[in-house]
């Protein structure tokens, strides 16, 4: 069971910010060291062992095991004209899986991101579609609609935003949402989570946006503002480990995506940061 978790790719640094001296951090509770060689190429070691490494979406990715392939792709992110936003990491005292699940939650917008991503009384989550796509082994939610007062840094006033959510990796999620300046395209907003321990994680948000007006710093600040509103909530969620078995919580229709995510994790034996038996 542990083997499958070890074989995934995990984000451990921003490639552009990596130094020669590097940094000590944790991955799945194992101490690792991430640094740049003289050439700038990243090196990740664990107890003297050199780990697999690659750079994608601005981040350094590594694995404690033997990954089957490349880091998942986000084809839209390669479209010309997008601004690639390296938001930087934030540490959170919560299960890495809870950080992903919160990212997938639609119902919290009016209460946690009040007057930005949601507002009262526009709290209803309309029915949306969820599926576990077996051909690509990913969880998807589509046809998600939500009224948002300020959907993005580039949004002028409130709009009904459309979303698609995608979970291509147990600790990563990609969100596609209505792009205010370009109605025909989707903005790409991701959350890459580095599991430190079962109850702590480092979160690396990254975005590929169409926005010709905001400065890079303004876009970073917008996303940090949003994520830090989540952080104080995440640190108070109980139980700390994400329950994968039903019994402890009563989900509603708005939680369909969360249920699919938990079911998918359980099917793959992804238990780092999870609890299996209902208390």
């Amino acid at each position: 069971m542990i083997a499958t978790m070890q074989d995934h790719w995990y984000p451990v640094a921003l490639a552009s910010k990596l130094t020669r001296s590097g940094r000590d951090t944790l991955l799945l509770a194992q101490p690792i060291h991430v640094r740049a060689e003289a050439s700038g190429a990243p090196v990740v070691t664990c107890d003297g062992r050199v780990l697999p490494v690659l750079v994608k979406f601005g981040h350094v990715w590594t694995s404690l095991g033997t990954p089957a392939g490349d880091v998942f792709d986000i084809p839209e992110a390669h479209q010309p004209g997008r601004r690639l936003v390296e938001v930087g990491s934030v540490k959170v005292r919560c299960s890495p899986l809870r950080a992903v699940e919160n990212f997938l939650d639609i119902a919290h917008f009016p209460f946690v991101h009040t007057d930005v991503l949601g507002s009262e009384p526009h709290t209803e989550v309309e029915r949306y579609e969820v599926e576990i796509r077996d051909d690509v082994n990913e969880v998807w939610a589509t046809k998600v609609k939500f009224f948002q007062p300020q959907a993005a840094r580039s949004a002028q006033g409130g709009i009904t935003t459309e979303y698609m959510y995608r979970v291509p990796n147990p600790t990563c999620s990609v969100l596609y949402k209505t792009c205010p300046p370009r109605p025909g395209e989707w903005d790409v907003i991701t959350i890459f989570v580095q599991p430190l321990t079962e109850t702590t994680c480092e979160v690396w948000p990254w975005m590929a946006l169409y926005d010709d007006d905001s400065t890079m710093t303004q876009m970073i600040h917008f996303q940090q503002l949003i994520f830090l509103q989540d952080r104080s909530i995440l640190e108070n969620q109980l139980p700390a480990l994400l329950p994968l078995d039903p019994g402890q919580e009563i989900p509603t229709r708005a939680d369909m995506l969360s249920i699919a995510y938990r079911r998918w994790l359980k099917r793959h034996g992804y238990t780092f940061g999870a609890q299996l038996v209902a208390a």
């Binding site: 940094r23 400065t215 303004q218 970073i220 600040h221 940090q224 503002l225 104080s232």
Partner: protein, 224 residues
């Protein structure tokens, strides 16, 4: 007036909060503190050699300490927020402005450690933060016993704004506020001020529920 601002900085938030409470217009110039470390850049150090935020620039005047910025904003816009009614009040405000630096150096440093991975002796920082919060709790408790709630006067002053953000965000650094009832009531009084604005981790007061009316029928039947 231009505020060199970082959205997650409690010290920058002090300035934004006071400007909002005083309905004083300031222009924000975002600084890429994290992950860009723009405050260490040569351009920024030319403005503030200490490489710290916030910085307030008003024509030729450049202020780099949040206490001085709060003092200036109040002096320009709303003199009563300075708390200069009498020598004792004035000295109390000065004392709290200085005290707020202890919260920054302890609770603030613990928060940067826990949140953004800054270095520091986290256990020592939390002990220092707890010491400072206990002192704040005792002082507010004493004010409450005399019917007040604010730190230096019967009304809010820059003393409250200087101490509020790092106290309120102590949980971000792993220091709980559960054992400080007076601090929590004081924070509530600040959050209830007209013009209050939030920052991540410091929430607005939710509107109070209406007064409870007659019990609904179904409940009455069950309890009968």
């Amino acid at each position: 007036m231009i505020l060199y601002d970082y959205v997650l900085s409690p010290s920058c938030y002090k300035v934004r909060l006071l400007a909002s409470l005083l309905v004083a217009g300031i222009d924000l110039r975002p600084v890429d503190f994290h992950p860009g470390a723009e405050h260490h850049s040569p351009e920024f150090r030319a403005l503030n050699p200490a490489g710290t935020i916030p910085v307030l620039k008003d024509a030729e005047l450049v202020l780099t300490e949040s206490g001085a910025i709060l003092t200036y904003l109040a002096a320009v816009n709303a003199h009563e927020w300075l708390g200069h009614d009498d020598p004792e009040m004035q000295a109390r405000v000065a004392n709290w402005l200085a005290f707020s630096q202890r919260l920054t150096a302890s609770a603030g440093a613990a928060r940067l450690h826990d949140m953004l991975g800054f270095s520091g002796d986290i256990d020592a920082l939390r002990v220092q933060a707890t010491d400072a919060l206990r002192e704040l709790e005792a002082a507010i408790h004493a004010r409450r016993r005399r019917g007040g709630i604010f730190l230096a006067a019967d009304r809010p002053t820059i003393a409250d704004i200087a101490c509020f953000p790092y106290a309120a965000l102590a949980p971000d650094g792993g220091v709980s506020l559960d054992s400080y009832p007076s601090i929590r009531l004081w924070m509530r009084a600040i959050r209830a001020l007209p013009g209050f604005i939030e920052m991540p981790g410091i929430h607005r007061l939710h509107e109070q529920m209406p007064e409870p009316g007659p019990m609904p029928d179904v409940v009455r039947k069950e309890s009968a």
